[in-house]
């Protein structure tokens, strides 16, 4: 019999072991994502040879002085690269949000859309920009975050008052509440647009609502990277508690998971991730739904593997979705949400037909 005191208090050696076991997958994942970002840099409508791309990178990052056409430089540095990085962040953020919500709600259909978080963020953003709520003091992203949290609060209290106190029943209630919440917020968004926006604005907003990477700037890149890294660390830290939710909230509590606290922290984190992504690129569907299933199919159920895998798959998927949206119609850029839905919906249908949560 092993004495129980042997398990006490993590030490510095624990931290060392943690990094020891982490560096390989971390570097592997980062390499894959960087390769995908590089593809995003190299592929596009305007043909730019790879050597020019590398020269631009050298100029901008290491201050080298290669002679490069200013237009090429602009396309590569301020258009393709920003889009690719934001797409990577967005894909990773939405995918890990989906993993968290599917685990916490024990529902294969859970994702930021289900809880109405995306819809709420859209409403908040539109309220801040078009309707001039807050007299210009409220920025689009602050509006989106406020909207996401408001939507979440409404959906959760609706689920609560509908009697979702207990584990199993709670899952159903929150899904239904989420549907009601999404409908309400989408209607509100339409109402605000119809009331306050002129036709040009309306067209722009509809485009953005479908998920649109145009006009992404380096400031957006910074915000997206910081928020995704923080979100990833918080979520990966909770990998083991998330595993414990496999058999429901009571089972999680009985193996020592502080259920309320874990739920609160993780749901706030997904709300933050979703709001940040919606405020930068609009609402992109299916990533949070399909990628976690794909990742589960490949690496299995253990969240210690599932979370990093979903982050990498989501990032790569959205980078290539973005590339596709840029080149599929010559001279025109499609909203990226159209591409993700066109790929995601059939994949999701296939998952449904397989019948099992893989």
């Amino acid at each position: 019999m092993v004495s129980k005191t042997d398990f006490e208090a993590p030490s510095l050696s624990g931290l060392g072991k943690l990094f020891g076991s982490l560096w390989r997958p971390l570097i592997g994942g980062a390499a894959i994502v960087c390769a995908a970002i590089l593809s995003g840099l190299l592929i596009g409508e305007t043909r730019i040879p790879p050597d020019i791309a590398f020269k631009v990178l050298a100029n901008k990052i290491f201050g080298a002085n290669y002679d490069v056409n200013a237009i090429d430089s602009d396309i590569l540095w301020s258009y393709r690269l920003t889009r690719a990085i934001v797409a990577a962040c967005c894909g990773a953020g939405l995918a890990i949000s989906g993993v968290v919500l599917q685990a916490l709600l024990r529902n294969a259909l859970a994702e930021p859309y289900l809880l109405g978080i995306s819809a709420g963020a859209s409403t908040g953003a539109v309220l801040a920009t078009v309707a001039g709520f807050g007299g210009g003091a409220v920025s689009l992203s602050a509006g989106a975050f406020g909207g996401a949290l408001a939507a979440f609060a409404i959906v959760v209290s609706l689920a609560h008052f509908a009697g979702g106190g207990t584990a199993r029943k709670g899952s159903v209630q929150i899904v239904l509440a989420g549907i009601a919440g999404s409908q309400l917020f989408n209607a509100l968004t339409s109402f605000i647009i119809a009331r306050s926006a002129n036709s040009d604005q309306a067209r722009g907003i509809m485009f953005w609502l479908m998920g649109n990477m145009s006009g992404v700037r380096w400031e957006d890149v910074a915000v997206a990277v910081v928020i995704v890294v923080i979100g990833f660390i918080v979520i990966a830290w909770h990998a083991r508690p998330l595993d414990a939710f496999t058999f429901g909230t009571d089972a999680a509590a009985s193996v020592g998971v502080p259920v309320r606290r874990v739920q609160t922290v993780l749901i706030l984190t997904t709300a933050l991730l979703t709001a940040a992504m919606v405020s930068i690129v609009g609402a992109i569907g299916f990533v949070g739904l399909v990628i976690p299933h794909m990742a589960r199919f490949i690496v299995g159920h253990s969240h210690a593997k599932l979370i990093p895998a979903a982050a990498v798959f989501g990032a790569v998927f959205l980078i290539f979705a973005d590339i596709t949206s840029r080149i599929i119609i010559p001279g025109q850029v499609l909203p990226i949400g159209v591409i993700t839905a066109l790929i995601g919906a059939p994949v999701f249908a296939a998952i449904l037909i397989r019948g099992q949560r893989t």
């Binding site: 129980k4 429901g248 998971v257």
Partner: protein, 238 residues
Amino acid sequence: MSLTADNLSWTSRGKTIVEGISLDVQPGEFLGLIGPNGSGKSTFLRLLAGLRRPSTGSVLLKGEPLKRMKQRDIARIMAFVEQQADTEDALSARAAVRLGRTPWLSPLSPWGTRDDDIVARALQDVQMQDKADQPWHTLSGGEKQRVHIARALAQQPELLLLDEPTNHLDIRHQIGILNLLHKLGRTTVIALHDLNHALDCDRIAVLMDGRLRAVGTADELLTEEFLYETFGIRGRFV
């Protein structure tokens, strides 16, 4: 005295489910909870396990109030097995048992070979070592329940709380599980729906309408009059 309920009550939406129960669980004893459906057995067990907050009263685990303990510390002393906890995930039996190590692990004290040993031993204790790598949905009801008990054992608890663990099983598996629990010899509190199983308990606590009606040995309690008053049946044990 390892686990004590002190005047426990639980009210949900204005309806009192458990009312004023006080009970001492003695170290090493096998305590059966019986009572008709809806008598509050499940809720009482969940209050004891710290999964519900009592409306009034308190639960003491080794003298310390549960509500002042961390969930993790509770789970290191006491394990709870639900009536039927299922999942659609295709995880293996072994992966399910691994969840029992959760209270002993953190990102900074990760899984080790010692945990593998504990999981293997727990699977052996419930005789599931041969099916350890089968996916969850291929296991029978009895096997699933054995895995849940193994998960509880992997927590290395001093106390086991079980909520009608044999409810959905056929008679052979019912007896198998109960024999297993007796053989494990831990301090056990178990809700039972079959009075026959109560005969083997060291003590029996009888719940009715959320109240504790009686505590005692099977011989003292399971009399003809008592069965009629509690369950509304005429009968006696032979």
